[in-house]
């Protein structure tokens, strides 16, 4: 059992670059390295790939949520001129096996449905033709007969379904995929001693990342070598790409995945397997390169990456001095038709399950159910955004029931700045933070008292303004244990999540950094460039970035889990250390001085303390590459290059089912304060002001951090007010288009999101960097729920269900109006 509180003998980290040093480039608002090519339309996305003799594939989507495939008549489709192949699940399965799955026991998924369809939109047939037009024409000619099975659409129905309604009978006679109970600390005791217990039922609706570019792949199969080459917009190909080779029944060296720029992901392209496997399966069958790019409906119905979909019954124990002592909850999570990451999204939530508060004990009962919907995957927050929503709603419920002040209550319950590193009851560690400081900054930036006055004035005019407040955690840098630690049988219990870079300084002193993960819409090129420029005192213009494929790839886990900036920074700093050593050695020979007397300044290897002395890096590079005989005949080798693999800066193994060890310790924090006006007669919400204070430790580039904060907040606004995949009782997805799946657009955004930064550097990462990619979405939903609730205080409504649509808000207000008569 992990005892919550300050850790008095904290684990030693491997930090080599401390945060308190004089930095010249890190911390500046340098313009993005990526911008020139993206802003001039020169990004290269999956649909830009065109290979000679390339064919095109289209999927026939299942119209049914749950059915047995009785027969498939493909004669008419095959007869259409230009059609190369019409591939059924059975035909695909001749050579292609199940898709990767982290759950254990696994839940079998096929790239083309085999025997049964389990959600609408699941591929039933893949048609390959000379053009996408012909492929779609042919798909429309395929006749499939189905035996309809009962569809499970409501997660509560999944709790006690049986017989034909069971999605995966081979995994047991029920649609409950997992039912797990965890106790961290003395939960029962804390509740027995509580002065107050607050209870709520909370509903978080299913939404998902909506990249403009859908998932796609172009695959080629070389019969001579038996090797696949797949262009794809996936990540993690240098991490678990070998599992795609396993699906395709080839050796891992017979698969090369070439990354493309990703036109948005928001988590949803964390690890694409179905789409690359579909394209590769088709390429092997037709003997030509095949392009398969999801259309919008494919993506919304079958991208395998819908977000969490949960009902919480939560209880919060509070003692007589208004301190929160324990939290316990029962959560049902609707995972859809498959379970690719097991209960990873709940493992993730355990990393910060007490939020920024000194809650001593946590009890969790997790029921994961399978339903006839697209499966869950990754969506900005990976489940912890829902944990945050639950915690903050419970805090606000306590504040409201006990008639306390939301600001003071938080101050009274925060983990204090001097208590870090801090261990939470699940065993995870929070490395650093200043939660009261963030709240104080937000209150000041917002002019909280000023808005409270305006709120009162508005009330007098019959207008309803509300001020929201949410203080949440952003766990950064995942360790891989969350993917399996909640499995009944642990299965493939991996513990690595490294990131590598390869850096070459060429003959002329220009640097090329190879990243081993793709461009995902964030700014890895900017980050890598700035860190290397800082290390070598190079001009950022003299640094270029490339992306390695799997053939040339070193271990690279890729963006996700607010890890990439931390990990790339660590990897670049590590590679730079190797380069610096060699540069000094070569320069030492050139200058006839000891390498120990040399340092880097202004692009030179110079004598310590004498700027402008020594040689430029370009001069040293030229010597190093071209003039070997100028140097002693020792073990010095030509060229300047380094590979470096940076492992997770601080992680430990799970100790027991009540102590998961340190698995997500680089802890960011945010405090959001939106101001909204609600029209109680129509339920419409308008955001009047928005303050977002974030702590992501040392910022490599505050400008790109601001972009992450604004983008994440926009997505959080979507989650709070607009976005919801709506399945009808038959499992039909009613809004598989951007007509009806509503995301905030520019007009729905506040005029300005005012951003503040508070900086508590991590003692474990290079320069003290923390993650920043998910924070906005992980806090905006509870902040907006609180703001709406505050606006409607005179009606005493509770915002327990998101998204808070006009109809939902008006329904709550009407019920209150009717109650008052």
């Amino acid at each position: 059992m992990a005892q919550a509180g300050k850790i008095h003998s904290p684990p030693k980290g491997r930090q080599k670059e401390s945060a308190d040093q004089n930095l010249k480039i890190i911390g500046t608002r340098m313009k993005r390295k990526e911008d020139p090519r993206f802003l001039t339309g020169n990004g290269r996305f999956i649909d830009d790939v065109s290979l000679p003799h390339m064919a095109h594939a289209a999927a026939l989507r299942s119209p049914h949520a749950h059915a047995r495939i009785r027969s498939i008549d493909k004669k008419a489709a095959e007869a259409l001129p230009g059609v190369l192949a019409v591939i059924t699940g059975e035909e695909a399965a001749l050579e292609t096996g199940p898709l990767p799955c982290f759950a254990n026991p696994p839940v079998e998924q096929r790239c083309i449905a085999l025997g049964k369809v389990r959600h609408v939109g699941e591929p039933v047939v893949l048609v390959v033709a000379e053009t996408r037009y012909i492929a779609e024409d042919a798909a429309a000619l395929v006749k499939v007969e189905y035996d309809i099975l009962p569809a499970i659409s409501d997660m509560l129905d999944a709790l006690n379904s049986s017989g034909d309604a069971v999605l995966h009978p081979s995994r047991g006679p029920s649609n409950i995929a997992e039912h797990r109970k965890y106790t961290f600390g003395a939960v029962d005791e804390e509740f027995a001693n509580a002065a107050h217990i607050v209870k709520r039922r909370l509903r978080w609706a299913r939404s998902g990342g909506q990249p403009i570019e859908t998932c796609g792949a172009v695959a080629n199969f070389d019969e001579g070598s038996g090797k696949f080459t797949i262009y794809a917009n996936t990540s993690m190909y240098n991490y678990i790409g070998f599992t795609i080779a396993a699906s395709l029944n080839v050796e891992s060296h017979q698969l090369n995945i070439i990354p493309m720029d990703a036109g948005g992901s928001f988590g949803s392209k964390l690890f694409l397997h179905k789409v690359p496997v579909l394209a590769a399966t088709a390429a092997r069958i037709v003997g030509r390169p095949v392009k398969y790019v999801e259309d919008r409906v494919d993506n919304m119905m079958a991208c395998d990456n819908h977000g969490s979909d949960r009902i919480y019954d939560a209880e919060l124990a509070i003692d007589s001095s208004n301190h929160m002592t324990a939290l316990r909850y029962r959560v049902i999570d609707d995972y859809g038709a498959y379970l690719q990451y097991g209960l990873g999204t709940h493992g993730n939530g355990f990393s910060q399950t007490v939020g920024p508060y000194r809650i001593r004990a946590v009890g969790a009962e997790i029921i994961a159910v399978l339903t006839n919907k697209c499966q869950q995957g990754a969506c900005r927050g990976f489940g912890s955004e829902v944990t945050n929503f639950m915690i903050e709603r419970m805090v606000d419920a306590a504040v409201s029931e006990l008639k306390l002040d939301p600001v003071q209550f938080r101050y009274d319950n925060f983990i204090q700045p001097e208590e870090f590193p801090y261990q939470i009851p699940t065993g995870n560690l929070y490395d650093s933070g200043n939660y009261p400081g963030a709240l104080k900054m937000a209150l000041g930036m917002l002019d909280y008292q000023g808005w409270r006055r305006k709120q009162q004035e508005a009330r007098a005019e019959g207008r309803y303004i509300g001020i929201g407040l949410a203080s949440c955690q952003e766990k950064g840098v995942f360790s891989a244990t969350e993917f399996w630690m909640l499995n009944r049988e642990k299965g493939f219990a991996l513990t690595s999540s490294p990131e590598s870079v390869s850096i070459k300084i060429d003959t002329n002193g220009k640097a090329v950094i190879s990243l081993h993960a793709p461009h995902w819409g964030n700014s890895p090129e900017t980050v890598a460039t700035m860190v290397l420029a800082e290390q070598l005192t190079l001009d950022p213009k003299d640094i270029a970035i490339t992306y390695s494929d799997t053939d040339h790839g070193l271990p690279g886990t890729g963006p996700g889990g607010s890890r990439y900036t931390v990990m790339v920074t660590g990897a670049v700093a590590g590679a730079a250390r190797i380069l610096k050593e060699k540069l000094k050695r070569v320069a030492g020979h050139m200058l006839e001085t000891s390498p120990h007397d040399l340092e880097f300044s202004n692009g030179r290897v110079s004598i310590k303390g004498i700027p402008g002395s020594g040689k430029t890096i370009a001069e040293v590079a030229m010597q190093s590459h071209m003039f070997r005989l100028s140097f002693p005949d020792d073990d010095l080798t030509s060229g300047l290059d380094a590979n470096y693999t940076y492992d997770h800066p601080l992680a430990t193994l799970p100790k027991s089912e009540s102590d998961f060890g340190i698995f997500y310790p680089i802890m960011g924090h945010m405090c959001h304060m939106p101001v909204v006006e609600v029209d109680p007669k129509t339920g419409q919400v308008k955001i009047l002001d928005y303050v977002a204070v974030h702590d992501c430790g040392t910022m490599i580039n505050p400008m790109t951090v601001d972009g992450h904060v604004r983008g994440g907040t926009a997505q959080g606004i979507g989650t709070a007010l607009y976005e919801e995949f709506q399945y009808d009782p038959n499992g039909q997805l009613r809004n598989a288009s951007f007509y009806d799946y509503l995301m905030p657009r520019v007009a729905e955004m506040p005029d300005k999101i005012r951003i503040g930064h508070i900086i508590t550097p991590s003692p474990y990462t290079e320069y003290g960097v923390k993650g920043a990619g998910e924070g906005g979405r992980m806090v905006a939903p509870p902040a907006l729920a609180a703001a709406i609730e505050d606006a409607l205080r005179p009606f005493n409504v509770k915002i327990d269900t998101l998204p808070a649509t006009p109809a939902r808000i008006r329904t709550l207000v009407r019920a209150a109006e009717n109650q008052r008569g």
Binding site: N735, A747, A807, R810
Partner: protein, 300 residues
């Protein structure tokens, strides 16, 4: 998401287009701005045998005013109509409602007549044309006829055009001088298909309201102007009780349906709220000499 195979014709004159309509015996669709048609085609929701692209018929791209009547040709874009000075001056409700029609990109290419023919139940312009008493000039190779809004619009997504007919012009008659107007739409996002909308025009003289025109959108099939609501105000003195009565009548008259965005009860409820608000705003504006509206939306 590619369209099925179709034939394509591109007449460049009205006469040629009408001949094409007469000649075509299979299923076909007219293409003007394409903002509604092309997504349906790409999603294969419809699969007409032929697309008759009328977008190159320059002679139909006009908005003119003659003797108090505003004439709008089949290919006049939303943007042309919205920003026409006669339209802004004579029927400001058009401008107000247009703020809710898509966004600038859509209005730049989409056509008023195309939207009227498509008659999406959430579209604003069918209601606005009903309130304005617009007439619809319909032609075929055989001749022409002029329909009222009531006769032109049928149920959702349908109109009363015969297969060989085409809407060539909409005529807006002179509106009562000094009338008040208001259009309010509730949508979840700016420019979305509305959850519900209401429009009102009225004339106010010596405290008495007349020529009241009130109607709704997306609140029930076939609802253009709603006489039961209008009757609560027509030729009556303005007071809160009358407005409340109209609001109650609206609640009782609408026949909304539920969809994924809002249930029927929500729509019925906001119909009452919208009615009250459009009447109040129209009353406030009535009698004012200048109606030239300022654009308050954040996007144009």
């Amino acid at each position: 998401m590619k369209p099925p195979v179709f034939d394509y014709e591109q007449p460049t004159s009205l006469r040629a287009a009408l001949e094409s309509l007469s000649r075509n015996t299979g299923t076909f669709k007219l293409l003007a701005g394409g903002y509604s048609l092309l997504p349906l085609l790409n999603a294969r929701t419809i699969s007409p045998e032929c697309i008759i692209d009328i977008s190159r018929i320059g002679e139909l791209r006009y908005v003119t005013e003659e003797a108090g009547t505003i004439r709008i040709g089949a290919l006049a874009t939303h943007d042309q109509v919205m920003n026409n000075s006669a339209v802004i001056r004579e029927c400001p409700i058009v401008f107000e409602a247009y703020k809710h029609v898509g966004n600038h990109t859509i209005r730049n290419r989409g056509t008023l007549c195309g939207s009227l023919c498509f008659n999406d139940p959430t579209a604003e312009m069918p209601l606005i044309m009903s309130l304005l008493g617009a007439t619809f000039v319909v032609r075929s190779s055989w001749g022409s006829r002029t329909l009222s809004a009531n006769d032109f619009f049928k149920g959702p997504f349908t109109n009363s055009l015969m297969p060989n007919e085409m809407l060539v012009e909409v005529r807006i008659p002179r509106q009562p001088a000094g009338h008040g107007h208001s259009f309010i739409e509730i949508s979840q996002r700016y420019g979305d298909r509305g959850l519900a909308a209401a429009g009102c025009m009225l004339t106010l003289k010596y405290g008495v309201v007349s020529d009241v025109r009130i109607g709704f959108r997306n609140l029930g099939e076939g609802l253009g102007r709603v006489r039961a609501v209008e009757a609560e105000l027509e030729n009556k003195a303005v007071n809160a009780a009358a407005i409340d009565a109209a609001s109650t009548a609206a609640r009782q008259s609408v026949r909304p349906e539920a969809d994924m965005h809002a249930d029927a009860e929500y729509r019925r409820d906001v119909a009452a709220t919208l009615t009250k608000r459009v009447i109040e705003t129209a009353l406030m504006r009535a009698g004012q000499t200048s109606h030239v509206p300022s654009f308050s939306g954040r996007l144009s």
